[in-house]
């Protein structure tokens, strides 16, 4: 059990973190106080063209120079700072959250069609697998991630998320089941433009991990949700699938349902299942994934975790519970329950 929520403003009107803090705290019952976090798009207008590389350091004097050295091999660090935190009685500050605003030198990866993204992905995987005591937990442009071990309201106050503004927010309240609660295991998980919050278990984690590692990703956070971020990056950014098709690959219809489809849909769906069999995610899950332009929520194919959505004006809300949405937006319209395995998608206009 975990609690998830996301909101997107289709006209990029910004919201501060007050609303999502209240909404996520409303779902405290879904967590255990061992992990909570938030992601916000549009958080760094002064550095919007730089990759915001967020790192948890165990200590600064030993490991930070090693990370700086890696980053400097591939580009320039325009600015760096300790992420401001404010002591909370219920949060033990076991890591030092730090952020680098980084610009990769695209000439250094001439064989890639998306060299800047690929350089940053390479750096994230390399640092996380080779520098003990440093964990890169976010790396997108203009995206901030705030997470720690604690309750949603304490984590929000620890980073003072009300001081940040953005047009798309995700929030997650963790109830760790298969692995211990730790800062790196708190959600959202982020890679480049992708941020993921997840309630449930990916029981196909082993298969998915082998698949994703064969494309150069390295899993380092001891929890299943990490693969979801990497799968979205692979299927959408690198393979060029649409969001709808990617969701069909990750949570496909059953074969007996495919057999009943019109001939053309049947052919497409069979091709997706055969191509992406190892990307298929099994187990109970409800997931919200975001990038700069969109937010998508979907559940596993037999709906073993809750997910509802609602709209008001330009804003789309997706959450585990209706009450969380209504806490953030009391005037929200009709609450919809998306069908199992079918995505609900909000996109910014223009």
């Amino acid at each position: 059990m975990c609690g998830i929520i996301g909101v997107i403003d289709r006209t990029r009107q910004c919201m501060d973190g007050t609303g999502i803090r209240a909404a996520l705290s409303q779902m405290d019952e879904r967590g255990s106080g061992e992990g909570a976090g938030y992601a916000v798009y549009g958080a760094f207008p002064d550095f919007k063209d730089y990759y915001a590389v967020h790192v948890f350091f165990d200590n600064l004097h030993e490991t930070k120079p090693l990370v700086e050295e890696e980053l400097s091999k591939w580009g320039i660090i325009e600015h760096q700072e300790a992420i401001p935190t404010y002591d909370q009685p219920n949060i033990r500050k076991v890591h030092f959250p730090w952020r680098f605003f980084f610009k990769p030198d695209s000439h250094l990866m001439p064989w890639s069609t998306t060299p800047a993204d690929d350089i940053v992905t390479h750096l994230v995987m390399k640092i996380n697998s080779s520098i003990p005591g440093a964990l890169v937990y976010a790396s997108g442009k203009n995206v901030a991630v705030f997470k720690a071990s604690g309750w949603p309201e304490d984590v929000a106050d620890f980073y003072r998320i009300q001081d940040y503004k953005g047009y798309l927010w995700l929030g997650h309240n963790r109830y760790p089941t298969n692995t211990p609660g730790w800062w790196g295991g708190a959600h959202p998980f982020n890679l480049l433009h992708w941020s993921v919050v997840h309630n449930g278990e990916i029981t196909s984690y082993g298969t998915n991990r082998r698949y994703i590692e064969s494309y150069g990703y390295r899993c380092s956070m001891y929890t299943d949700t990490e693969v979801v971020a990497y799968l979205f990056d692979l299927l959408i950014r690198r393979h060029g699938l649409s969001i709808e098709t990617a969701v069909k690959a990750l949570a496909p219809p059953f074969w007996d349902e495919i057999d009943q489809m019109p001939e053309r849909d049947k052919e497409i769906m069979r091709a997706i299942r055969l191509t992406y069999g190892s990307a298929l995610m099994n187990g109970p899950f409800a997931i919200v994934v975001a990038n700069h332009d969109s937010m998508v929520g979907f559940t596993d194919r037999i709906k073993l975790r809750p997910l509802v959505s609602g709209e008001l004006g330009n804003r789309l809300y997706i959450s585990s519970e209706e009450a969380a949405i209504r806490t953030m937006e009391p005037d929200v319209g009709e609450i919809i329950m998306p069908k199992a395995g079918e995505p609900v998608i909000g996109r910014v206009r223009g």
Partner: protein, 248 residues
Amino acid sequence: MVDTIRIDAKGMHYTPLNKAIRAAVASGARKIELDHVMGQRFIADGLRGNVEIVINGVPGGDLGMFMSGPTCIVHGNCEHAPGNTMDSGTIVIHGNAGDAVAHSMRGGMIFVRDDIGYRGGIHMKQYKEKRPILVIGGSARAFLGEYMAGGLILILGRKGKFPDIDRGIGSGIHGGKIIIRGSVTDHNLGVGAKKNDLKEEERQEIAPLIEKFTGFFGLDPAPLLNDRYYVITPSSARPFASKYTWEV
């Protein structure tokens, strides 16, 4: 004796809220009205007595769990599993409800004006005079009556197309009955479930339930009373006999 007690639940955790409800019942209140309910779980859980609880807002999961006797009237939607293992009493929901409505329900009645989510009536059961009843005005999502062991689920399909598009109706059913207005394709029947037309005595059985339902929500029962219904029951006396035990 105070007859009606109002409680403002705004910002209140469910523990003090339930304590206040129990104190009101103990003081002899016959009606309790809860305002600004927003996601508080476990309301009226394990509560006994002859009391009506009006809930204004969105109650959290497991409303009326183990409840024995009271009536809960919800003006809003419900989250997951209202009536979980409910023993007796009534829940009336003026809106939708989430997944696993009437989960393991063992007695009493639930009426939902609109739609419910997945696995409605999962593992409902019955014993002697205890026979739970779940009436849905709209439609239900997949796996309706999953592992059902007793009781009655009645789907009135007031909005039309549902639930003939969803799979696994009565999946694993080994007791009880699901009655659905409209069409049910064989493809959407779950493992161990079979479909029949409504018999005359079954029509007579559901008529008072339909009238009760329309009475709660101020609707006309006429179009529902004489329409076509299908009845889903276990395919045999023990459809899963060979699944878990070896028998010669």
